[in-house]
């Protein structure tokens, strides 16, 4: 018994040791540190959006419309006089919400389908692959537009579209990894013991597949944020008056010859977010799994 305890202790301490070195290596990499800072700022901004500015994102102030940045409105106001900084902070909230929901759902479904395709019988693999490839062959935004034409725009539809179009990407990555693992001797060893396919997938495949997948998924956050703001830019995402970076950019586009500030205020946080997540994701990937290649 005592041996077991001490074992757990050693294995636990070794894994947390590993996490500490990974973190310290992340902050020692300048770009990784920059990414971490940007992502933290975004998270803080989104979490405390209600408290960071005195304004409400929906409060109109028509007298002060399209104001340039000033001390009272740090990023100016939009065509309805709403405080742009407040709307940007709340827009970040929407973006993160969409990313969190859609990626986590797509990840789970993609993981299951990918492992089934990779480990299951050939016909199942072929069927799933065909569906994956068919879904992937729709240009994402155009597919989203067609779907939203039918249902009408909403945040839920944005999430649905992202889930549907990301599942094949994750599933294909998991499938490739599963196929590679399938031929490894440790899987043959497990099968020769009479291990059930479910146990093989759960005990032997999952831990090997999940790690790289998480890194890839974290690098997908910018893509998802881009799609959300892109659809909102087209008026196909969140409904007004909810704040979104895309909506701010759309307003800015409409008034681009009047004031550049709206376009700047909508675009800069979007760029910083995508850069932040990308830098952090790349640094993490290089630290944790340098051989990982993005399977486009």
């Amino acid at each position: 018994m005592s041996v077991q305890v001490s074992n757990k202790l050693t294995s636990h301490s070794s894994s947390s040791f590993w996490r500490i070195t990974a973190f310290s290596r992340l902050i020692r990499d300048p770009l990784g540190l920059l990414g971490l800072v940007l992502v933290s700022l975004l998270l803080i901004g989104a979490l405390f959006a209600n408290h960071l500015t005195p304004y409400s994102p929906k409060a109109l102030d028509v007298k002060n419309r399209l104001a340039a940045p000033s001390m009272s409105h740090l990023l100016g106001t939009d065509q309805l006089g709403r405080d742009t900084l407040t709307r940007v902070l709340h827009g970040g909230r929407v973006a993160l919400q969409v990313a969190a929901w859609s990626i986590s759902i797509a990840l789970v479904v993609g993981l299951v389908l990918g492992m089934l395709a990779g480990y299951g019988p050939r016909w199942l693999d072929n069927c799933l692959l065909l569906v994956f490839d068919a879904v992937r062959s729709f240009p994402t935004i155009i597919f989203a537009l067609a779907l939203i034409t039918l249902t009408g725009p909403s945040l839920k539809m944005v999430i649905t579209v992202i889930i549907v179009t990301s599942i094949p990407v994750y599933a294909r990555i998991v499938r490739t990894q599963t196929m590679a693992l399938k031929e490894q001797e440790f899987v043959l060893a497990a099968r020769s013991l009479g291990t059930s396919w479910f146990r093989i997938l759960r005990v032997h495949f999952l831990p090997n597949v999940v790690g790289p997948l998480f890194i890839l998924a974290s690098m997908d956050i910018p893509v998802v944020v881009t799609i959300e703001s892109g659809l909102s830019f087209l008026g196909m995402g969140v409904r007004p008056p909810t704040a979104s970076w895309g909506a701010t950019l759309a307003d800015g586009y409409a008034y681009i010859r009047v004031t550049p500030w709206l376009v700047v205020a909508g675009g800069v946080p979007l760029i910083l977010t995508t850069l932040g997540f990308t830098f952090m994701g790349e640094a993490l990937r290089d630290i944790l799994d340098p051989r990982l290649r993005r399977g486009l």
Binding site: I141, I142, F279
Partner: protein, 314 residues
């Protein structure tokens, strides 16, 4: 190569069929009434009934499914609700603008991307390599529609050096080219990053391969080793990626066309979505999907042809 080509063709047909099926299912099972969508809420019940019969919507679903395929095979992908023109006609007016934009964008980004990727792989770890690394990652991370907006803001609104709106005068090639610069820049920028990084990564991987070590052990010129041997292998995955790139660019083109008011297929789709003209939207989705699948097919075949391991097989 013959077998590979046939297999790849068969797969393409299967993918297109599957994609069409998904589209069909989506139209019929997603909540929302196609008739109301097509005619608007003010249409009378008679008009609705007439439309249903005209479109075959009164028939059983499997008949509709077969009709859908049969019509597409005949080249009939529906009619514009308002003008009653065939959708194909409308699309054919807009398509060339998009095709030109996508081809120009992918070309310049492939050209620059391969050069940058190769350059930073050869000078691995140097300052230039690190700088290129940051620039390329940033190029990937920044959404193309934000690039469109910002380049519009900077070059067309603030500096006024390039035209902002439209595709240029028909027949005036120089004017058309000028109108192409900003959209093609916005669309291609991210892909410069993608391609550069892919080429750099595969170059580095290949430079560590045993065959490069043996080539060096024979005392070959570094030029031969890098450009005739390593780069030739490193561009193979890039070629395969370009097909996917075209597909992704079709999405990006929608924003670029919208921002720069370029009358391509993306702008058409957006306008038709806004006008709730579903047959045109559906037709455009089909056409763009087909373009995606075909470009992936072409790039795969080129890739296979460049790789003697595939070319020399049956």
């Amino acid at each position: 190569m013959l077998i590979y080509t046939l297999k790849r063709l068969g797969l393409t047909v299967a993918i297109v069929a599957a994609a069409m099926s998904i589209l069909f299912l989506m139209i019929h099972f997603v909540p929302g009434d196609a008739v109301t969508l097509a005619l608007g809420p003010r249409a009378t019940e008679d008009m609705r009934e007439a439309y249903r019969i005209k479109m075959g919507l009164d028939r059983p679903i499997h008949v509709q499914y077969i009709m859908f395929f049969a019509n597409v095979l005949r080249g009939d992908i529906g009619q514009d609700v308002f003008s009653n023109q065939p959708v194909t006609t409308i699309i054919s007016h807009h398509l060339p603008h998009t095709v030109v934009l996508v081809i120009v964008s992918i070309s310049w980004s492939a050209f620059l991307g391969i050069f940058l990727g190769c350059f930073s792989a050869v000078h691995r770890g140097s300052l230039i390599d690190r700088f290129t690394g940051v620039v390329t990652v940033s190029a990937i991370a920044i959404p193309s529609f934000v690039v469109s907006l910002y380049s519009l803001l900077i070059f067309a609104v603030l500096l006024r050096v390039l035209p902002a709106i439209g595709a240029g005068e028909p027949g005036d090639l120089i004017d058309q080219a000028k109108h192409l610069v900003l959209p093609a820049f916005a669309l291609g920028l991210g892909w410069v990053g993608y391609i550069a990084r892919l080429v750099r990564a595969s170059m580095l991987e290949i430079m560590g391969e045993n065959y490069i070590r043996s080539a060096r052990s024979y005392g070959l010129m570094e030029y031969t080793v890098i450009y005739s041997y390593a780069l030739k292998i490193a561009v193979l995955p890039t070629v395969a990626l370009l097909g996917v790139g075209v597909g992704n660019m079709l999405s990006g083109a929608l924003f670029a066309e919208l921002v720069f008011a370029r009358p391509g297929i993306g702008k058409l789709i957006y306008e038709m979505v806004m006008a709730r003209n579903f047959p045109v939207v559906q037709g455009a989705v089909l056409i763009t999907t087909l373009m995606f699948v075909v470009s992936a097919l072409i790039s795969d075949l080129i890739n296979a042809y460049l790789d003697p391991r595939v070319r020399s097989s049956l």
